[in-house]
Symmetry: C2
Subunit: 144 residues, 2 copies
DNA sequence: AGCGATTAAGTCGTGTACGATACATCTAGG
DNA sequence: CCTAGATGTATCGTACACGACTTAATCGCT
């Protein structure tokens, strides 16, 4: 009667996410980045100078996760953190020289990961949207 | 040129897994379980008396993750850990009374999660297999 | 029988994650 | 203005997750 982990949708997500981080490791280790740090930089490469809260909203992370993560990235010279002059409650995150430099060095990462999936771009996009749909439905239930 | 996290397949997996764990929380909190602990119990409900290594193989977790997790579950009276008499290197994990008792109390969990996905069973199975396929391809690359 | 290689768990250090809470700053109603 | 509530970050405690390493037991080969 009970369902084995292997047969669960949730476990496929859980283990696929682990496999995904493992697949990123050889790409990110040479850059000295962890996967969440890579996400933060990716967000800043698209739009620099964001608040902690804005990054948290994009990445679905709480400040209690982001603050230590951002402090480590600041210590590594990847980003800068400073209080907003207009609203001293907010901390604005900007790219530091180290983070700018990685923009070029990490340019190949998306293509390498795509290759690792063994899927075509349309297939990847389709699966992404299905997974996004599931995520959004799960989050909807949580808020209601 | 850089891709925003929101558009990445990897990020959809990453955030969907977070949303999935959040969706399980209201189901598992009353049982006093975390999500990985629920996976361990699910594996034991299907097949009791497994070695640490066998559980690790099923759940794709290393012993350095499992050992502390299993010790917490032992302390909570969910499982028992003892050395195999035949091969003293192995530790066999069996259900303790607490873990047996939860089998009934957790019987509704899979259906509740299915409901939270807002998907039909065939849809869930199809998505699960797609995600499993991705996971297996990623793991294949890692081993080669 | 005996010893090096292999295997199974465990330990340690670092980095996420998140609930609960604390703190500082801003904002709105009186 | 001035304080009660709201907002944005940060802190603390607990629980994964994994790389690198250690320890103990078994196996394989002579």
């Amino acid at each position: 009667m009970p369902i084995a982990p292997v047969d669960m949708l949730c476990f496929s997500l859980y283990s696929a996410q682990h496999a995904m981080q493992a697949a990123y490791k050889p790409l990110l280790d040479p850059l000295g980045l962890t996967y969440p740090q890579y996400l933060v930089l990716s967000a800043l490469w698209v739009q620099d100078d964001q608040t902690v809260g804005a990054l948290g909203a994009q990445l679905a992370l709480e400040t209690n996760t982001l603050t230590p993560l951002l402090k480590r990235m600041e210590a590594a010279g990847l980003i800068a953190r400073r209080r907003d002059k207009e609203d001293e409650r907010q901390v604005r995150i900007t790219l530091a020289p180290g983070g700018e430099a990685l923009r070029q060095k990490a340019a190949h990462v998306p293509a390498c990961f795509l290759e690792a999936t063994g899927m075509s771009l349309p297939e990847v996009v389709a699966l992404r949207d299905q997974v996004k749909g599931l995520r959004d439905r799960l989050k909807l239930k949580a808020s209601s």
